[in-house]
Amino acid sequence: MEKFKIKRVFSDDIGRNNPVFAQVLGICSTLAVTNVLKNTVVMCVGLIFTTSLSNFTVSLMRNYIPARVRMMVETLIIASYVIIVDIVLKAYFPDISRQLGPYVGLIITNCIIMGRTEAFALSNPPGLSFLDGIASGFGYSYVLLIIAVVREILGSGTIWGIRIVGDWWTNWSIMVMAPGAFFVLALFIWVVKGQISEEGEKK
């Protein structure tokens, strides 16, 4: 039973019920941090850390939180973890922290985190909630990483800051700006959704 649930949590968040391309949550950061791969990776690590631990914490407290103030409590918990991520980056990875600027703080407003605590952590045990947080984090991350790779190659001709196309390449400035993310994300959703509904029809 437990095993089945865990498997379900992962396959849901990574596939059919993916936070980015199925629920279309967390789009703000999808647009903002996917123009350079390095920033995306740090954002994803920060997000996985925050979703898993806030899910875990909310789930631990779920039987005591009064229903009326539950959102305040959730926000407080999420904000605390984000501040921790921010402080740790500033202290131990100052260069990355400088590059990411305000985006780390913006993890607080990522709807995926609040969405998971509301929809999952409040009604499931801590261990499973923790895994659900990791799974949603991964579901979010791999979509962002794919978008970031496409945008960095087209927009800057590089991956991870290393030049991979020749000098003949003209950078598509639009890929570096927010509209580029809209295009890539829309194409991605179109392809993946087509795939999923085809599978559904076969069944």
Partner: protein
């Protein structure tokens, strides 16, 4: 409503929220206090590297060595209130002649840009600039931090004009970043304003 219900419905949520807030703020404050010193050192290091780089001094990678070098060649000149006016960088094996560095802030496209501007001892030629803090669009305006862009300021004289990439020839021209015209212009006007202000500020 009985006393028990009043407690459960009205008081308990308030007390609960207070308790949770207290716990989480204590935890974050503890972590903050624990790392405060390190964060300050990091910020100071960024500034030290910027001052050295703007003065045209090539510096080592190791933070401890940067510290030693900085204390040997840089002198902080402050006003009466202890606020840093400019930094005097003495002649050394890394750089011939004195240089002065001013740290200044101006507006960019999205937010403030803080830079270190270095001038030679005659206060008319740039020895270099270095970006300390900026919030420009990553990948576009954010490229003002890249060395190909900042390096071109060395040896230039104000007032600066910007020209398209690859077309800078005279010592008053700098190449703009394609797709980041506004950020380049913002940076250029900060540098120009600093150069104008420098003579008054640096009393030799």
């Amino acid at each position: 409503m009985s006393g028990k219900q009043v407690f459960k419905k009205r008081l308990f949520p308030i007390l609960f929220m207070l308790a949770v807030t207290l716990v989480f703020i204590s935890v974050t404050t503890a972590i903050y206090t624990f790392t405060e010193e390190k964060i300050k050192i990091n910020e100071k290091l960024v500034q030290k590297r910027a001052v050295l780089s703007a003065a045209g001094v090539s510096y080592p990678d190791d933070p401890a060595e940067i510290d030693t070098l900085y204390h040997r060649v840089v002198q902080e000149i402050t006003d009466e209130s202890g606020e840093a006016l400019y930094y005097e960088v003495a002649e050394s094996e890394y750089y011939s002649g004195n240089a002065y560095v001013i740290i200044t802030t101006g507006s960019g496209l999205w937010g403030d840009i803080t830079i270190a501007v270095g001038v030679d001892e005659n206060v008319n030629t740039l020895t270099g600039i270095e970006i300390i803090d900026q919030n420009e669009t990553p990948g576009l305006g954010g490229r003002i931090t890249e060395s190909w862009f900042t390096e071109q300021f060395r040896g230039k004289k104000g007032p600066l004009n910007s020209v398209p990439e690859g077309e800078a020839t005279s010592e008053q021209q700098i190449q703009a970043i394609t797709g980041a015209t506004y950020s380049t212009a913002a940076l250029r006007s900060i540098v120009n304003a600093t150069l104008e202000d420098a003579r008054g500020r640096i009393k030799s």
